[in-house]
Symmetry: C2
Subunit: 284 residues, 2 copies
Amino acid sequence: MKIQIDCIPCLISQAVHIAKMVSTDDAVRYEIIKKTLADASNMDLSLTPPEQARLIHQAIKTISKVDDPYLEIKDMSTKFALELMPDLRKIIENSKNKFETIIRFVIAGNIIDFGAIRDFDLNTARERVLEVFDMPIDLTAIKTLEQSMDKAKKIFYIADNCGEAVLDRLLIERYSDKITLGVRGKPIINDITPREIKASKLDIVPYVDTGDMTPGVSLRYSNKEFLDTMNSADLVIAKGQGNYETLNEYNRPIVFLLRAKCQVITDLIGNIKQGSLQVIPKNI
Amino acid sequence: MKIQIDCIPCLISQAVHIAKMVSTDDAVRYEIIKKTLADASNMDLSLTPPEQARLIHQAIKTISKVDDPYLEIKDMSTKFALELMPDLRKIIENSKNKFETIIRFVIAGNIIDFGAIRDFDLNTARERVLEVFDMPIDLTAIKTLEQSMDKAKKIFYIADNCGEAVLDRLLIERYSDKITLGVRGKPIINDITPREIKASKLDIVPYVDTGDMTPGVSLRYSNKEFLDTMNSADLVIAKGQGNYETLNEYNRPIVFLLRAKCQVITDLIGNIKQGSLQVIPKNI
């Protein structure tokens, strides 16, 4: 999707939030914000929102000299999710439809997001993961996903945030013989990069990274290896809103698993509630 | 107060909101937003937030050729408030401390604000005005205000928004022999200008306008007549957050009456809740 007018205040707000994280010096903060505003004023309207975010975060890194402002938060999120796993496994074990329960938790993990939800609080995350157990979900789409995963020979699974990625293991381990994992190439917000794969216990499958810092999968900026792996899979699974924003027009078999976090996205998907669990198969 | 880093996303968000109001043409909307971002990137950090808003709204007017996007909303707000007045007068009549009740309603009116509260809804405004009857308020500050108004020979009363201004009459009519009203000089958001004074039934006192479109009182851009009138009064009463943001460092006797609408302001005033009723005497 192309960037929408309503994405702009959100991107600026994200920049302000990070400017305050990376520096206590007002001069540095203002330098970051002014650069962000100047870049945004020259915005290429054919970019997706995550591609515009990429430019903003690149400027923040250059000015602040902080390469990974979310390092600590990422590691805390991973730890939190690892501690949650035994309980989730018990719930799955006792559930009637195990695949459906796994999908619920795998989407639930998408609530661990410090980009779209800047005031996200790990203290309430446990409840927010567990609440999905009773939330509405498209059972037909889940069936389509299960059949497609069963049938596929090569699945490319594009992860999203740290913490969330730990929960992805619940689905990945069932299909580990045919999955390749896709992650971001460079630190960007709290998205998973190669650095966090082992700690997230996702080193049971091979991975490729985009080589890029878009908080999504840019078809312009991702490297050839990543794009070739994606394009040669029978099925792509893409987690989270950033991957949806960059790949919603991708014309090969893909299933998006996400929680809709803003009105731009609920409007784009159409007739859905903010925070709802979304399983969106396309070209299947 | 000088503009804070957290004011910036809010100003951009305001521009996006108005861009969508004044045009359905995406090209025009983007032109407005890009100009807003470019202006903001060259921001003079010694400006107050309303002075920066002034620049943004000026650009919007120039590009869209719409001089008063809130015209209809202003008139609806005035009508709404006029219809509310008989009920408020009855409540005041039956209350133990009439002055206190008047002050509560005069501050309550400050909730009618389409600038700081972009999704403000006139349908819920009646409840939101009446709810103030039971809200905490600084009774000592109200006493100070009453004594200062009783004692003053010349009071300069700076109004804020349309609708709210109708409720200001409750206080103004008690001191009409010594009050001069101050309003904005040109259309800006839903702030009152000379055009709306008669409809708001405030033509019982003389008025001066700033000659300017800052949604507050700019000490740089207001005309001489306005500043002279303000500076020669024994007491200034300033309604709303925009007037607070531009006059909080004004060093003559002044009382601010407002509802705090954002965290920048609750932090600046210190230890207060968002939405709370504020009576803030200074230099008295």
